[in-house]
């Protein structure tokens, strides 16, 4: 079963020098439980494609469907509700809420989804990423690797069916990066989620079931699926 269906997806953004065509017709299918790496040079449209899959960006053409739902038909709030418990997103820059402790950051998506024992589940997720002792710490009191681990715990706390990661190791050193990848794949295995990851690192891409190369807003020949 396909959890993601992209048909002729186009994205044009307004730049200072006029409209910029970011994606020029993407057709892609992702199966349930599959892990997929999006690679390609900078500016090729990888992150934008990931944002479209997460419903954080609206396609200007074509169709994006996730878990059988047409994302283009939903407004911003409907998309927000749709993500609850279905999608987890990890960013290169972690994007933790600076005013919240590690535990609170992980608990937020669960609380938003109305999960009653959010704090307990969040604590379990933090234990799972090895940060059981840092629950009360603010992001500013943690290293980059630790912050990304909190972000991973937050993304997986709602047991999402789709795990989307945008350069999750891009801001980390090699050792931390490897550790994060182990955790990411471990979480994906534990929860049986579908993983889609943007990366520049070939060795990370090789750990995925499938690698899709992008160039100039298109999928490279041979990667059309």
């Amino acid at each position: 079963m396909d959890v993601l269906e992209l048909d002729g997806v186009r994205l044009t953004l307004d730049g200072n020098a006029g409209p910029v065509e970011i994606l020029r017709g993407i057709d892609l299918r992702v199966k349930e439980g599959e892990s997929l790496a999006l690679i390609g040079p900078s500016g090729s449209g990888k992150s934008s494609l990931l944002m479209l899959m997460a419903g954080l960006e609206k396609a200007t053409g074509g169709r994006v469907a996730a878990l059988g739902q047409d994302l283009g038909a939903m407004n911003e709030d409907a998309l927000a509700r749709f993500r609850r418990g279905r999608m987890g997103v990890v960013f290169q820059s972690f994007h933790l809420i600076p005013t919240m402790t590690a535990l609170e950051n992980v608990a937020v998506p669960l609380e938003i989804a109305g999960v009653t024992d959010a704090a307990r589940l969040a604590a379990e997720e933090l234990d799972a990423v090895g940060l059981g002792a840092r629950k009360g710490h603010y992001p500013s009191q943690m290293s980059g690797g630790e912050q990304q681990r909190v972000a991973l715990a937050r993304a997986s706390a709602g047991r999402p069916k789709l795990l989307l990661a945008d350069e999750p190791t891009g801001n980390l050193d090699q050792a931390n990066g490897a550790s994060i990848m182990d955790l990411l794949f471990g979480l994906r295995d534990r929860h049986g989620a579908t993983l889609i990851m943007v990366t520049h690192a070939p060795e990370l891409a090789e750990r995925c079931d499938r690698v899709v190369r992008m160039a100039d807003g298109r999928l490279a020949p041979g990667d059309l699926a």
Binding site: S48, R83, G85, T99, T101, E104, G114, A118
Partner: protein, 830 residues
Amino acid sequence: MRLALTLAAREMRGGLSGFRVLILCLTLGVAAIAAVGSLRAAIEAGLSDQGAVILGGDAEVSFTYRRAEREELDWITSKADKVSEVLTFRSLAVVGQDQALTQVKAVDQAWPLLGTVGLDQGTLEQAFAPVDGIPGALMEKLLADRLGLSVGDRFKMGAQEFRLGALMLSEPDSAMAGVGLAPKTVVRSSDLGQSGLLAPGSMYESHYRMVTGRDLDATRAEAETRFAAKGLDWTDRRNAARGVERFVERLGSFLVLVGLAGLAVGGVGVASAVRAWMERRVATIATLKVLGAESGLVARVYLIQILGIVALGTLLGLILGAGALRVVLPFLTAQLPFPVTIGLYPRPLLEAGFYGLVTGMLFALWPLAQALRQGAAALYRGAGRLWPGAGWLAVQTVLLVALVGGAVWFSGNWMLTLGTLGGVAAVLAVLWASGWALARLARRLARSRMVNGRPGLRLALAAVGGPRSEAMSVVLSLGLGLSVLAVVGQIDENFRLAIARDLPTRAPSFFFIDIQPDQTEAFIAKMTGNPAVTKVESAAMLRGAVVAINGAKPTQDHWVLRGDRGISLADAMPEGTDIAEGAWWPEGLTGAAQVSFGAEEAREIGLKLGDRLTLNILGRDIEVTVTSLRNVDFSNAGMGFVMVVNKAALAGAPYTSIATVYAGAEAEAALLRDTARTWPNITAISVKEAIAKVVEALTAVATATVAAAGAVLIVGLVVLIGAVASGVPARVREASILKVLGATRGAILASFALRAAIMGLAAGLVAVGAGAAGGWAVMRLVMDLPFVFEPVSAVLVVSGGVVVTLLAGLAFAAVPISARPAGVLRTVEG
């Protein structure tokens, strides 16, 4: 330094966008101080320029309860080119059944020596000229309207009938008795012969104005030497309106200090702006260091920029303050009861500029020093702030000392300055502690079980309690202004309550003054015979000044020792007398004169039994010995004399009696009519009307204070808006993350509103606490009245705090709510 200037100039090319709040805070604070200071200077200059006109001459000598004696008049005439005599007293203007209290000014043909009288019609001669044998009079419009009089209508004062000759629109010699309880009537003193109003012992003052080219100091010295024992009071054009001058000086100093409080609140905005600006400069600081810049150079680069910005804000404030006053003053001049000379006054501008620069730098240097001490990486992570280094702390201390020292020097009143600055510092300290406590409490609550399953509330509490919380800025910026409002609200309501609840049951209906000795018995008999009258008290009195204690001129500054005071005469101990110490004199005492003194006042002055006082009464010195001390209650507006002298001691002195009459409200009008008809020379003062005047005055003071608090609030609002605006990028990011995590826009907006409301509520509650404490202190410790917490003004203050923060928060919510998460969160375009 050249390199630092070059680097600073390059940095400033980015514009002033990060400094709008800082500049606005300083500009508003400095403008308020500059405007108030310039207005004070304009009034002082006006009083100085017009001193002779508002006094009515170059110099004036005045006497209480008597006119100048032959010898005194000869001396005055010998010293002056022109002389004019003016008598002042209070009386009732009666029209048929209606009457109103008026301040009477009885003048001679020479009045006014200087300036002109503004009349609604005709000349002064025409206005005073008798028509059908009825002399003319001038009246202020307020009084004529009150009595329904038009020009040509008749009214009585005492036994004399007058014709309203003209309405007096302005009087040149307004310095004298300018602030009375009643509007004025002006008559010729030669027309008062039949009125019975200036009988011996009546309460009046005589003033002799002189136009003279002589040296005023020498003339004054001569007058005081020659007539020292005669109760002569000297005033000249250099201090013509002593009361007004003192009032303007005090009020000016107070308002400047309130402006300084506004600057202190603005300082919070200055500090926030500099902190935010320094945080945006992290990368530049790091780069400068990487490129080999020493920390001294980095410090100079940023110090130059801060100094430039603070100077710009101050300069704009001076221009705004002086400019706004220039625009408003011509309109204001017509409203002020004293002359104003419009001009540009350097001293108040210098003062405001000094405050702006020192306060601006005081608040700006702290975050600058913190940022410079912190490593760039630590700053980037938003790690905890360090204390500034010792050198910076020393500079801060010097600035603080300069600010306080400057304020004392400029105001010339160290007690008022240190009291106000101390109060402001204390309130700011309490607010700071409250902001800190609020953040701690919010942090605890955010982690408590109470908020489980309530992500909106948790988000709000976490934002209030977390790092970079706006709580401190909001509580500090709004708290001070709201606290002043809360204190005024509590005192105002309590005072009104005390007047409305307590006074009518305790205070008399009327004071009757100028009851002649031969009228006293009949007056009291008539009053006690009236079934509507519940109580009558009367006392013989005259006025006199304490000129010596145990033979030496008193040095204490106490109200009893300032000028003339009412002195009562008694033989037997009056009913209700409460002797605290000593004993009342035996009835019919003759020989050495004795005085019974108020116990509390005696303690304050340092008097004890056996002390000798020299009283100057109608120009005569009388020595009395303190033989008893009494507890005197002034709070019920009844009869209360600090000094009571045995009757035989002042035998022969022309005294009158005053009486307090207690009657039901429904009988007051008839009582007043009857008394005015039977004894036209007796003047009735309605206690109700007097209290209404006092309430009116208190309302005006409360309004002025609220206006001053309003100025502080406006600066606070700018700081608040600045704080909220600077938090927008963080909220944009937060809203985007929350959307990724599944939060709807409504939920995010609700959370933003909730955090704003929590902070506004906290600021309001702290202000109400300060209001209750301030109100209690004033009512109990100063006024000696009961204090009741007034919930209405408290609710208004709290809801005001919530509404203001809510509006500010929601005004800046649109951008975060509508931001597209992908655009915000995309860090690397892949």
